[in-house]
Amino acid sequence: MLKFTQDHEWLLIEGDSATIGITQYAQEQLGDLVFVELPKPGRSVDAGAAAAVVESVKAASDVYAPIAGEIVEINQSVVDEPSLVNSDPMGKGWLFKMKIADRSQVEALMDEQAYHAVIDKAASA
């Protein structure tokens, strides 16, 4: 199951695990990434807490934990090669995996259709 946030992050929900990254729209807005910082596995975060940082030539942007839970795994290959987030944001460019603490937070996120409506609105603004 795929879920999305207003902050242009995606979550792939598999059992009690969520894989998290930024969307195609987000990577286009940021431009070429040159640095990615990921959280330490084992850290527990609240929903909305700054969990990762992605940086382009010009700017640094926070990536927030979209739900509460424990960071269980990070994608070391995007740290070594930040451009993976640009070339494959919803595949090889995933950022980190979380163990879902509260299922209801997942249910409250947008589905793909709702997210696309958000993008269309942003593009026409």
């Binding site: 040159v34 010009k58 990536v63 603004a125």
Partner: protein, 395 residues
Amino acid sequence: MRHGTRSCCVGADMSEVVAGERLKRTPLHQLHLDLGARMVPFAGYEMPVQYPNGILKEHLHVRAAAGLFDVSHMGQFEIRSRNGDSEDAARALESIVPMDILGLASGRQRYALLTNEDGGVRDDLMIARLGERFLIVANAACKDADEAYLRQTMSRACTIERLEDRALLALQGPRAEAALARLAPEVRSMRFMDLRAVEVMNAACTVSRSGYTGEDGFEISLPASHAEAVAQALLENSDVAMIGLGARDSLRLEAGLCLYGSELDVTTTPVEAALEWSIQKVRRAGGSREGNFPGAPKILHQLANGAPRRRVGLRPEGRAPIRRGAELFSDQDTADAIGVITSGGYGPSVNAPVAMGYVARAGELTGGRVYADLRGTRVPLRLSGLPFIPTTYKR
């Protein structure tokens, strides 16, 4: 993801412009839109921050081939002596900049600083002499204040004309000479900081061999009415790509060049900014036209005795860029800052983060190292010479 939460300077989106604030447009506005530029407000203008290729590729393209920049937002002034004797205009200019202007030959350009009574910098400029005229290029954000100041200080001896109907293009990179020479072969014989009246596609241009990237290249002042045609003709060459303000900033940072408002402002002196090379001997203590510019006592004193802080290059030892505003410390633990980052980001040609900043007593630092707070961790940066990349000016 929240976009640009720690972004600096050129980051705002057009939609964030306050209602009622009318932004000006350059003569190349339509061309920028046609090329798919992302436009941002900058110094009162709608300017292209990047094109679809993005900042990283644009930056590398300039270093590998040639980039064309629209810098028509910058101020252009023409100064003439009222009595026809250009030496009078040179003397008037020397009363407001600590540079040798009387000794500036026709056809030559020089970097200059408008200083204030405290020894600070009102603006940094290019001043060129062409026959009886002096031509000035000033920063967009400063040009209105500069005009008022020039009128206030020089009007008795000189006429000051703001060249509103002229565009300014910069063509930079190793293929710049070949690209411009197709339209105007005579530019091949120009050297770094030469300036000439050149006809380009029937437009009366003033071309200088200079720029803001560390690369060889040219800056072309031309009638606004001809700007798009000349830009289009240059872009027909596959070596030439349009480059936005984003890459302009990363290129100048790698080249160790100051940005007014970041490295320079009314509180930074030329010596603090490590720009003493721009003050010629003749204006220094013991020179035949020593002093007699705003802030001379302080600036001459600092030239002799050093400044309490200096602009330095910095290389973060990790991969994380350290950005503008980050405070600097002498070790891992002290609470008292000894300096601050003024520009910082990723250097695409260096392939590592680079920064400039001000540091007090840089010579006393152990191991030539300072520290900055980055998201709760104190990370090391090494003092570095400037520029970060070898420059390729045609001297």
